[in-house]
């Protein structure tokens, strides 16, 4: 693990028990890198979208797991998420559609009754100006999001 990275890995079975686990995980990850409430909220929203995708894309909750890593540079957060044992075949078309234009994906599906599995990600690109990249391997989906933060002074705590 990199010295300045927060990592969280857990099985998707937990989500089946309670959806709120998603928010608890994203609040934790956001809190370790953002002290200002506004940036913490922003980061938590982005991570929550990624974890929700993990829930939807996990093939078998008893086997699938999700690993997230978050690292902060001065004005942005780099978010990496791996969904092991993901529904790659089912996601293939959506990913091609998304990668052709994340912003366009958002416009196309806005207001749809079933807006598509990647709509949350396109929201990050469209509304939060995040750069989103998706890659696939045989049984895993990798997600990378570079999220710009608000230019707010972060409180500095004395040890």
């Amino acid at each position: 693990m990199e010295a300045n990275t927060t990592e969280l890995r857990y099985g998707l079975e937990s989500f089946r028990k309670d959806w709120r686990h998603c928010a608890i995980g994203s609040d934790f990850l956001a809190g370790t890198h953002c002290s200002s409430p506004q940036n913490r909220e922003l980061a938590s929203t982005a991570i929550n979208e990624m974890l929700e995708l993990a829930f939807k894309a996990g093939a078998d909750a008893s086997k699938s797991w999700v690993q997230t890593a978050i690292e902060r540079s001065e004005m942005s957060l780099s978010l990496d998420l791996t969904i092991k044992d993901a529904l790659i075949a089912e996601l293939n078309l959506a990913i091609v559609d998304f990668q052709s234009s994340p912003d366009g994906y958002f416009e196309r599906y806005l207001g749809h009754e079933s807006p598509g599995i990647l709509f949350g990600l396109s929201f990050l690109a469209h509304d939060l100006n995040a750069k989103v990249a998706l890659t696939m391997s045989i049984d895993a989906l990798h997600l990378q999001v570079l999220l710009p933060l608000l230019p707010l002074p972060e409180p500095v705590w004395e040890d």
Binding site: T5, Y10, K17, D18, T32
Partner: protein, 179 residues
């Protein structure tokens, strides 16, 4: 120090099997890292163990106390925190490596906290703190004894010397009675 040395009864019991790996940035201060872990796990367990009656604030305090000590004093290696459900209590166990010299100090402290009347020991440590010069370290054990005194928690400790090394795997177990 050789074999397993136990102070109190270390218990194992479980009815759920969520498992996490958490890695935290080194830039976080120990108290901040402990606080993040405590808040995350107590919120998670509040959701997972909805059918049980327990104080989330107490659980948060216990995890925070154990994690803070582990982050400050542990030798290089993994810190493992396990939460188990027993009939009468929620068991929180934290295991981490300690250098042998530090493990001996902790073992003596654990023995004292385990055997003493918590009310008397709590008052004694506070008194020592009040009398001490500024900056002097006199509060050792206050966190552990406050778990007994203020949270009615049970304590148990285990010390296991690793083969041919100066490392002692140290376990601190806190049992929080159901309400």
């Amino acid at each position: 120090m050789g074999g397993l040395i136990a102070i109190g009864r270390l218990r194992v019991s479980s009815e759920f099997d969520d498992e996490f790996y958490l890695g935290l940035p080194k830039s976080l201060a120990p108290w901040d890292a402990a606080n993040h872990v405590a808040q995350f796990l107590s919120a998670w367990l509040e959701e997972t163990l909805k059918q049980r009656q327990f104080s989330v604030d107490s659980l948060n305090y216990v995890i925070n106390e154990l994690m803070e000590n582990a982050i400050k004093y542990a030798a290089d290696g993994r810190i493992e925190l396990a939460v188990c459900v027993a009939n009468d209590a929620l068991l929180v166990s934290l295991t981490h490596p300690l250098l042998e010299s530090r493990a001996k100090i902790y073992q003596a402290l654990a023995q004292q906290v385990f055997e003493a009347d918590p009310e008397l020991l709590f008052a004694e440590i506070i008194e020592r703190n009040t009398d001490a010069d500024a900056g002097e370290q006199t509060g050792a054990g206050l966190g552990l004894v406050s778990l007994r005194q203020n949270y009615q928690a049970g304590l148990a400790f285990g010390f296991q010397r690793q083969d041919s090394s100066e490392i002692v795997q140290t376990t601190t177990q806190v049992s929080l009675p159901w309400q």
